[in-house]
């Protein structure tokens, strides 16, 4: 069945090939491309958030950006509450969120709460579905979300900048249910130094009205005890030594979030509160000793804390975790050579060391873990537009070596407008501290989860004078073995490597742009079909075998249409989430729902005082049809709401075009 599925996709692909060459692979690596050696695998698709969506959430969180744009399936415990993602049926523990190369996954539960990540802090948000543990290490089974700061010595056009420069920004959103979000960035550079400082704050009462369907006669209620407030800052400092082949970067990100946990529709009251704290410091050193050698060395210290107070005088749960990371990677580029084997060959390798400690009140005594991994990669451009890469990685955890993982990918450009990417990868996810050490029940003998993924993507990108289409379709197949599942085991629940999950599906990504006179039309659409089923469990009398995983919709997608006339725009976004089962035997489910958002706005650019001003003003109506829906059972989501916001960006810099 699995082989037939893949063969079918390949047959269709082979039926529509045309011959046209184009160059899409750049051999001259620089500060950006050094990251490409690991961060950007051409063999898998990468979805970068479109600007027509990003400008509607300048001060929002990743939940707003990725959920509102219909990019990812999210599980949200109400507005402002815990929000995690699911890519291709994988759970959030199997999808790392990487900040400039540093994995933000919590060592305790391997989960990143997207509602805690302000969009304002990052220059680029990209979703890379597919297994990529060879590149990213443990956890990258479902995909990777990348949060990136673009290099400060480059403009958005890729041209070099020269100090002095100024770049200031203010973002603001205000709307329904007491929501207000504010961010300010101060940035500049002089001589060899470049810096920016971002401060942000968001607050929301989340006291929306909803229909409580738990009563025989559904009644309107207002959500209570749902306030969320967050504040923090991020600073980045770049230093370019007099030796032009080096650059140093220091980043520091501190934030604190307070949340009241609202009652479900079946509860009359909830006193629980949660406080999340994070301090993340990282440094990077880029070095280019020769034109062929690039070195990137990185170090980070991450301190995270979580204080959960269940209320009702129950004991408070305190989680305290420290992570120390050091890694270095080097790339040697042979460039153009007479020898066929060495021609356009690129070798990369890296070492990573991570030391983590954690403790959880009454549940995990102080525990430590040392992990060391190394990877090696060979890449080669076979023709001007084709590339393949082989990467292998292995890791030693507290002295135990795990089975090596790897990936092979191939990028084939058939035409200027047609390309194919294929990838086969073997990935893994190590058990969390909760899995290993939770008292009672933790299992220190757990093995990592492992997976094999095969995928193929066809990119179709025809362009014409006034527009273009960018369309990708991906077919994938993934098998996860030794999946960690908590099961009743003698006296307590314990995690065991017992489950096997088979995920397969197709993903469509479409962007259509057309300019007509002074009008610009942009249409974005994505549609995901996910079939993700349990194939093996440890449970007798289990009827879930072969059934769709809970909370994984078979269909998910969205479409966004934007019309822009001069500086004015209107955007309509529609998102569909299919039925989701909430029990493994499928006797209970949440119905499918559609959410539509509408926004109007104004973009303005002006050259003043030797600099450039960008202003974006918008009004957004979320859930315009006031759909009453639940992302998680019995947890109400907001109906129709409104948001107004703006962003002002001022930059003054000298640009050197090459």
């Amino acid at each position: 069945m699995k082989k037939s599925f893949i063969a079918c996709c390949l047959l269709v692909v082979s039926g529509v090939l045309h011959a046209q060459d184009t160059a899409v692979f750049h051999l001259n690596l620089d500060a950006v491309d050094i990251l490409k050696a690991r961060m950007e695998q051409s063999g898998v698709r990468r979805d970068i958030t479109d600007s027509t969506i990003a400008r509607l959430y300048p001060a929002g969180t990743l939940t707003d950006l990725l959920g509102g744009g219909g990019v990812l399936t999210l599980k949200s415990y109400t507005a402002g509450g815990l929000s995690t993602m699911s890519i291709r049926g994988a759970n959030s523990m199997q999808t790392p969120v990487v900040w400039n190369g540093i994995n933000l996954q919590n060592t305790n539960n391997n989960t990143v709460d997207l509602s805690l990540l302000p969009v304002f802090l990052f220059d680029q948000v990209a979703v890379q579905p597919g297994s990529s543990s060879a590149a990213w290490g443990s956890g990258a089974i479902g995909g990777v979300i990348k949060l990136t700061s673009l290099p400060r010595d480059r403009s958005s056009n890729g041209n070099y900048l020269r100090n002095p420069y100024l770049n200031h920004k203010v973002v603001f959103e205000y709307g329904s249910f007491g929501a207000n979000m504010f961010g300010v960035k101060v940035g500049g550079g002089k001589g060899q130094w470049t810096y920016d400082l971002k401060l942000y704050r968001q607050h929301s009462l989340n006291n929306f009205w909803f229909t409580n369907t738990s009563f025989a006669q559904p009644r309107r209620q207002q959500l209570n005890h749902a306030t969320m407030r967050q504040q923090g800052f991020m600073t980045e400092v770049y230093f370019d030594p007099k030796n032009p082949n080096n650059q140093f970067v220091l980043r520091m990100w501190v934030q604190e979030t307070h949340r009241e946990i609202p009652p479900t529709m079946l509860q009359s009251v909830n006193e629980a509160t949660q406080k999340d704290y994070a301090c993340r410091i990282m440094s990077e050193w880029f070095s280019f000793p020769t034109s062929r050698i690039k070195i990137n060395t990185r170090a980070a210290v991450i301190h995270e804390g979580l204080l959960y107070n269940p209320g009702f005088s129950q004991p408070i749960n305190n989680t305290n975790a420290w992570t120390y990371i050091a890694e270095s990677e080097m790339t040697y580029d042979f460039g153009q050579r007479d020898t066929k084997v060495l021609n356009n060959l690129r070798l990369s390798g890296g070492l990573n060391a991570m030391y983590a400690t954690s403790e959880v009140t009454e549940s995990i005594p102080h525990k430590e873990q040392l992990r060391m991994s190394m990877y090696a990669s060979i890449g080669k451009a076979l023709r001007e537009s084709d590339e393949f890469n082989i990467t292998v990685r292995d890791e030693i955890i507290d002295g135990k070596m795990i089975d090596p993982v790897g990936s092979i990918w191939y990028y084939l450009s058939l035409k200027k407008w047609l390309a194919i990417r294929t990838c086969v990868s073997h990935s893994y996810r190590v058990p969390t501290f909760n899995d290993l050490y939770w008292t009672p029940g933790g299992n220190p003998d757990l093995l990592p989860e492992t997976s094999w993924t095969e995928e193929i993507t066809v990119d179709v990108r025809p362009r014409w004078k006034t527009g273009y289409i960018s369309y990708s379709v991906t077919a994938y197949n993934r098998n996860v073995k030794d999946m960690i599942t908590w099961v009743p085991n003698a006296a307590f629940w314990s995690p065991l490597n017992v489950a096997e999950v088979w995920s397969r599906g197709m993903e469509h990504r479409l962007k259509y742009f057309q300019a007509v006179s002074r009008w610009k039309f942009t249409f974005l659409a994505n549609a995901d079909y996910v079939r993700s089923t349990y194939e093996k469990t440890n449970t007798t009398n289990d009827v879930s075998i072969g059934k769709q995983l809970i909370y994984v919709p078979a269909w998910f997608g969205g479409a966004t249409a934007t019309a822009q006339w001069k500086d004015y725009f209107i955007t309509y976004a529609h998102q569909y989430t299919d039925l989701r089962f909430t029990t493994r035997d499928h006797v209970e489910w949440l119905p499918a729902y559609s959410i539509a958002n509408l926004a109007v706005g104004w973009n303005w650019k002006s050259n003043l005082n030797g600099g450039v001003y960008w202003m974006n003003l918008f009004f957004r109506c979320n859930n315009i049809f006031d759909e009453q829906y639940e992302s998680m059972a019995w947890r109400p989501m907001p109906g129709r709401s409104y948001m107004i916001g703006f962003s002002i960006d001022f930059s003054k810099q000298k640009e050197i075009t090459e």
Binding site: C8, S214, T264, Q314, T537, T539, L579, F581, H586, A633
Partner: protein, 354 residues
Amino acid sequence: MRTFRHASMAVSVIAAFIFLSSCSRDTPDPTDPAATRTFTPGEGFFILNEGGFGAGNSSVSYYALAGADAGNTFNNLFSQVNGTPLGDVGQSMTMINNRLYVVVNNSSKIEVLNPLNMNAVATITGLAGPRNILQVNAATAFITQMYSEQVAILDLASNTVTGYINLGIGSEALVLEQGKLFITSQESDKLYVLDAPQFSSIDSSIVIAPGGNSMVVDGNGKLWILAYGYWATSAPGGLFRVNPASPSLEASMPFTTFDFPTHLVANPAGDSLFFLNFSIYRMSVNDATLPAVGYISGVGHAFYTIGFMPNTSNTFVGDAVDYVQSGLIFRYDAAGTQTDVDTVGIIPNNFLMY
């Protein structure tokens, strides 16, 4: 023209892939037939299905022992009759004055039902994590609460809370025996004793073990208490026998720190005790030590409750399977041989003969 041709080819490719993606998906399983029936006393028993914490899928089922539907199970009775979900975490159920009191812990309420037809007649609110309810006299019942240091006093005529007993700690199981009220707490290692007639305050306490979760009175009038211990301090649980007349501790049988015993029940004759500790264990009320071997092995199961039906020698056991799908009830004969299995709601945790 060339542009149009390229665009047309692109659209054709896109359409082909979209067509290929028109794949099937699972459809919901059919629900149980509507519970438009009456329940004749003496013909079966109710099963309370706890549901997942926070999932809001607790429910009530019924298993027919006799009559035209003998051997059949009926599920989702509360929601199908009353048109509303039961709530979050069905904790326990008790028959008082021909009314079925269903304690729904995480919804902080008790649903009062007519057992003949499962119609809801009252909802008791204003509670803080209720756990168990016990009738103490013709007009009054007590409700233990895990999120309150008080035991709630319920007026059975109006089904409203009219007062509280200040216990100073969250409460769990309660038994009335020989004019004394015995209460356990999951937070302490004591058995609290309150004297009649007011039961207004703690008169004495007996040290047992942390985690007192269930109690029964045997055929000899002795009170048995089961505690699962406290893993954080490595304090083991135990099975304790108390003479309610004194009241004093008569026997103490400790478990190991790796045990987690729960759901202590007595058979209808009162001469045997059963409890869960992964497997199901059975012992005589005259035994002085804990049984070493399980009566029914828990391997391949997630046993969650035990029950007995009067006038039968059958044991009924609830199996939660994986806690995220419909549970099962197994019927065992006197020899411990399985004779029937039926599907019920999520996490069956309580049986009540009717």
